[in-house]
Structure formats: C-alpha cells, structure tokens
Subunit: 187 residues, 2 copies
DNA sequence: CGGAATCCGGATTCCACATTCCGTATTATG
DNA sequence: CATAATACGGAATGTGGAATCCGGATTCCG
C-alpha cells in the first residue's frame, strides 16, 4: 500500500547527496563532537539545509546513522580479534582498538559512554558488541589473563571510563587500559 | 576607592536570599545535573529571576559556586582520611567517598570529569585536591597497596572514569573501584 | 522532446533559555 | 518617621539553533 508500483528509481543525485552528507557529518562530528550544527554539516557537504533534513529528518537521526556505522566497524574488528587466536591480541587488543578509534573521533567517544551505560534501545549493533565482548572475555579467561569472575558488564564499565578519559584528555589512555587490564587479572 | 565609607550593612534579606538560592541550586543541580534552568532555580528558591542574577551574574558563576563548595567538602574528607592512618581507609576510602558523593550529585559528576581532565583554571581547590591525592598515594605506596610507579595522574584518570560510570549508570561503581585499585597494586 | 515526479536551497518560523531593565517594595540610618 | 540606599520581581528582550516551507531547478521516462 505504501509502494505504488509507479515507483521510479531514486534519483542519482539524491543518492550522491546522501553520501556527501554522511561523509561530511562523519568528519565534522569526529573532530568537534556533539555540538556541530546542522547548518555546518550542510555547508560542509555543500548541500542545502533542506536537503540535509530530507535525508535525515532529525539531528538525532543523523548522529545515530553515524554512530551505528562506526560501531559496526568496531564490532567487525572485535570479531576479527576474537577469531584470530593470538594471545597478544584478544581483550587487550580490542580495548586498544577502541581507544584508537575514540581518540580520532570525539563524537563517538561521547556516544559510546551513553551506549555502554543504560540498556538503551540501541538494538542489533549493541547486541553484537556485547556478544563479541563476551567471547573475548571467555578466551581471555581460558588463557588466564582475566579472573573467573570478570563479566561483560565489567568491561562495559572500563570502556565507559575509557571514553571519558579520552574525551577529557584526563591522562594517557594507554596507561588507563593497562591499569584496567591488571585490575581484571585473576588474583 | 571601592569602599566609600558611606557603606551600609548589607541588607539582611539580601543575605538570606543568597543562601536560599545556593541551597535550592545545590539540590536541583544535584538531582538533574547541568540542564536545570535559571528560572527553575529561582522558583525553587522562591525568589525572582532578577534576584538570582544579582547574586550570581551568570549561570556559570552559579554552577562554579556550587561546584567549588562540593569540591571543598571532598578535599576536607580526603585530608581527614590522609591524616587518620587507618589502613582500611586511605586511597580506597577516598575513592569510595568520591563515589558516594557523585552518586548523589549528578551535576558534580558532570563537573568532575572536566576538572580532573584538562588543567583548567580551577585554582585553589583543584590544587588542594591534587595535593591530598598525592599524599594518599604516598601513604598507600609505603603501605604497599599501590605500585611505586603510580602517579596522581593515574588516580585522576580513575576518578574521571568513575564519574563517567556513575553518571551513565554503566554498572556497579564499587566494582569499578575494586578493579581500579587492583590495577594499581604493585606487581 | 515534454511534462510529471522528485529533489534542491535557504530564508523563515519556532522555540527554549539566558540575561537585562526598570518600576516597586523593603531596609537601614539619623 | 523620613528618606536615601538597596534589593526585589518578573515581563520583555536577545540569541542560538533546530526544523519547516515552498518556489524553482533537475532528473527520469515515454
């Protein structure tokens, strides 16, 4: 009913513009974080504000699209690390990867904090992330690098803290990870 | 020159109002964090907006006043812990106290993050805090509960993360402290 | 080509707040 | 008390920024 067969192919410029917007938004949010303005995004994408709003009906929608993208990347890497059975990688490698990403993406570090916290309605991707983390923990446990009692929730907290440390430049985040990892090791 | 001897005593009601405002603001910011409105503060204090602004010429000024107050309390407690040479207290006790305070004061946990990060112009109190933390670390080091290489910066990071964990309800913050403390212990 | 169907741009509307202004009310002095 | 000095309240103003609207430009399709 919502698809009258009289449907033309989506205009090519429309599609192109959508990509432009996403790309520009990604760059802007990565550099300046949550407080870039819609008009700035539009300008950077070399697109009218109207267009921007047709693609993403809401500021929030735009941010979500970007975040989802980055999150998916992270999950992908995590899964790779989980599969490769390299002792030098695993949980440690994952945390460092997250740190690396957040360092170059201020907006993401702002989002991660919230996402790792309260069980928000951030569906699929969040689930996927939790799953991989759980797997990483299992492997680490077997290998003896983390205690039996360590949970995915613990790692969540660590990541939440990591994001804050990076976002506020509160110190050397690699050192933070080191400390956290030591803290998770079996007694 | 700025004190023409023709100076009456400050009106008593003025003084009383200032207290009311501070008290109301404290409560409001503690519960709702950074986004309470000036008008709400005024209403809660049962005072006109104009008055509120005579006491604190700026939203920021108000927040700063509140934060400074809380920070001073924390420093005081910290110093007490540092003096009491109770092994069960010290650094651990301090972190738990901070956690307790932040749990009941959302606004503060928002501020702490920033303050612990970038060497902002938050003068005296910040200095004092750093000093006590340093002292707590020294004692802990002597007692052997933290490694030789642990610095005040490390504790800063931990606190910054703690604030984030609490603010986002990302898990059990007592557990977080436990992990952090374990991570700081000597090898 | 021709003319829908779609999409664009960006001025404009709306809204949520901080901050200012000023006429009125209250307090301290003599 | 009288009166100057202060303080008060809260409507009015200013501002920043998201979201809407619509005449004009483009693109698709026969």
């Amino acid at each position: 009913m919502s698809t009258p067969q009289t449907r033309r192919k989506t205009r090519t410029d429309a599609e192109r513009n959508r990509d432009r917007v996403l790309e520009a938004a990604r760059a802007l949010f990565a550099e300046f974080g949550h407080d870039v303005q819609m008009s700035e995004v539009a300008r950077a994408a070399d697109v009218g504000i109207g267009t921007l709003y047709r693609k993403f009906p809401t500021r929030e929608a735009l941010i979500e699209a970007i975040a989802e993208h980055r999150a998916a990347e992270i999950v992908a890497t995590a899964r790779r690390l989980a599969d490769t059975d390299d002792p030098a990688q695993g949980l440690a490698g994952f945390l460092h990867h997250v740190g690396e990403v957040l360092t170059g993406d201020r907006g993401m570090s702002e989002v991660i904090e919230k996402v790792m916290g309260s069980a928000e309605p951030r569906g699929e991707t969040r689930e996927a992330l939790l799953a991989v983390v759980a797997e990483l923990i299992d492997r680490a446990r077997v290998r003896g690098t983390v205690g039996q009692d360590v949970t995915a929730g613990d790692v969540n907290m660590v990541i939440c803290g990591l994001a804050a440390v990076i976002r506020n430049a509160a110190g050397d985040w690699r050192r933070y990870i080191e400390v956290a990892l030591d803290g998770l090791r079996p007694r």
